[in-house]
């Protein structure tokens, strides 16, 4: 852990054109203040890797509507007509990835594995151009690892060394994304002294977190 950042300082570090993983599922568990700061900075040309693009006016949907995003790698954009419109008008490139493949590709990128061998997508249009391996009599698609320049993580609580815990369905993609980016910035709802989060409760070890977002004022 290298210290705490204000949302503004965090947004300044994330340059236009950066590749950014953002946790959350329809904005549940998304780092909402970090997203607002990127919109406020007027970020441009971001590649966003996330489960979905939420809804207009909500979470990642704000980045879409504000024109911050050039490319989306996600499993679902169906709740956000702005993403759909950007795709149709050629302003936003969209790579659709099955949700289970997406999380596993991110995990592979974060854990030093060369790819993911999955039956998901075989025989569908997402298999186009991909290598198929026959292993012990079954077929698998080879899907490549994903990494990013930044991972923006939403958490419920952090301690002073960056250990993170999550609540219920707000966990989703956050733990794997914390493994797969050069710089990891976590936005917890509260920050507590070391020892408050017991070792067995930790879901993301602090050694993976570069910066915490300062507490909300």
């Amino acid at each position: 852990m290298k210290g705490a950042l204000t949302p503004e300082a965090a947004a300044e570090r994330i340059p236009d054109g950066a590749r950014v993983m953002i946790g959350g599922f329809v904005a549940v568990g998304s780092p909402l203040r970090l997203i607002d700061a990127l919109v406020a900075r007027g970020a441009r040309g971001l590649t966003v890797i996330a489960n979905d693009t939420a809804r207009p006016g909500l979470g990642i949907g704000k980045l879409i509507s504000a024109g911050c995003v050039a490319r989306v790698i996600a499993s679902h954009i169906g709740l956000n007509p702005d993403t759909q419109r950007g795709l149709n008008e050629g302003r936003i490139a969209v790579d659709l990835v099955p949700q289970g493949t997406l999380v596993e590709r991110i995990r592979a990128g974060g854990m030093g594995l060369g790819g993911v061998l999955t039956p998901t997508g075989l025989g569908t249009e997402i298999a186009a151009g991909k290598q198929i391996l026959e292993i012990e009599g079954r077929s698998y698609l080879l899907e490549l690892p994903l990494r990013a320049d930044f991972a923006l993580i939403g958490a419920w609580q952090a301690d002073h060394v960056g250990n993170l815990i999550y609540e219920f369905t707000a966990q989703n993609f956050n733990p794997v994304m914390a493994l797969a980016a050069d710089t990891v910035i976590a936005e917890p709802e509260s920050i507590v002294p070391v020892g408050v989060i017991p070792p067995d409760a930790v879901r993301t070890p602090g050694v993976l977190v570069d910066h915490l977002l300062v507490r909300a004022r």
Binding site: V26, D52, L79, V103, T120, T124, T169, A170
Partner: protein
């Protein structure tokens, strides 16, 4: 009884004690209401909970506990929070006993299309490709027709969700079982004649013997 309730009630009859079941958003999510408590069934939401429960009392919603559509839910006693990697590991690894999904088309091979209408609507596959590929049993719950067009077709013209043959189709008119020989008509909705089902179905159906009315429990 309206069409959606009829479908949900019939699908509920497929659920056995102790099953782990995933219900898609929309129509499939209605099924839970018709599964008796005490069966020991756990519902999984792919965004990260095993033991999804009914919506919470007014004012007790938790922003961190939602279903895959982003709606507020509760968790039953014995629930477990999981991240997306575990969620899709359960799905892809065959630990999910049943998934109930909506459909755009199912064809005579029993293959499902439910994630894309090229040129019109590209919501994305979300978890559907993993669910259809990995679940032990796949039930499609949908209206028999949309805009006067049969959704049960000789051959899917929309992009496939998976190669896998689904196990059962439940519509407002019929219960149909895809088999290696083709689509078997198993049951008809209350008061609906076999001839009416055949007339409403673009695909060929195999009809042998007497076709009973749906079991609705």
């Amino acid at each position: 009884m309206d069409a959606k309730e009829l479908i949900a009630r019939r699908v509920a009859q497929e659920i056995r004690p102790g099953m782990l079941v995933n219900l898609g958003i929309g129509l499939p999510s209605l099924v839970a209401a018709f599964v008796p408590a005490g069966l020991g069934v756990f519902f999984q939401a792919e965004n990260g909970v095993i033991g999804l429960g009914a919506p919470p009392p007014e004012g007790m919603e938790d922003a961190h506990l939602t279903d895959a559509g982003g709606g507020f839910v509760s968790a039953v006693p014995g629930a477990a929070s999981i991240d997306s990697a575990m969620s899709f590991g359960l799905i892809r690894g065959g630990h999910l006993d049943m998934t109930v999904l909506g459909g755009l088309q199912v064809d005579e091979a029993g293959q499902l299309a439910n994630w894309k209408v090229p040129g019109a609507m590209v919501p994305g596959m979300g978890g559907a490709m993993d669910l259809v590929t990995g679940a032990a049993r796949v039930v499609v719950a949908m209206q028999h027709a949309a805009k006067g067009q049969s959704k049960i077709v000789p051959f899917c013209t929309l992009p496939l969700t998976a190669l896998r043959r689904v196990d059962l189709i439940v519509t407002d008119l019929a219960v149909i079982e895809p088999t290696a020989a083709g689509l078997l008509l198993r049951e008809r909705a209350p008061g609906v004649a076999v001839e009416a089902i055949l007339a409403a179905t673009e695909a060929a159906l195999i009809v042998t013997g007497d076709i009973p009315e749906m079991r609705l429990g």
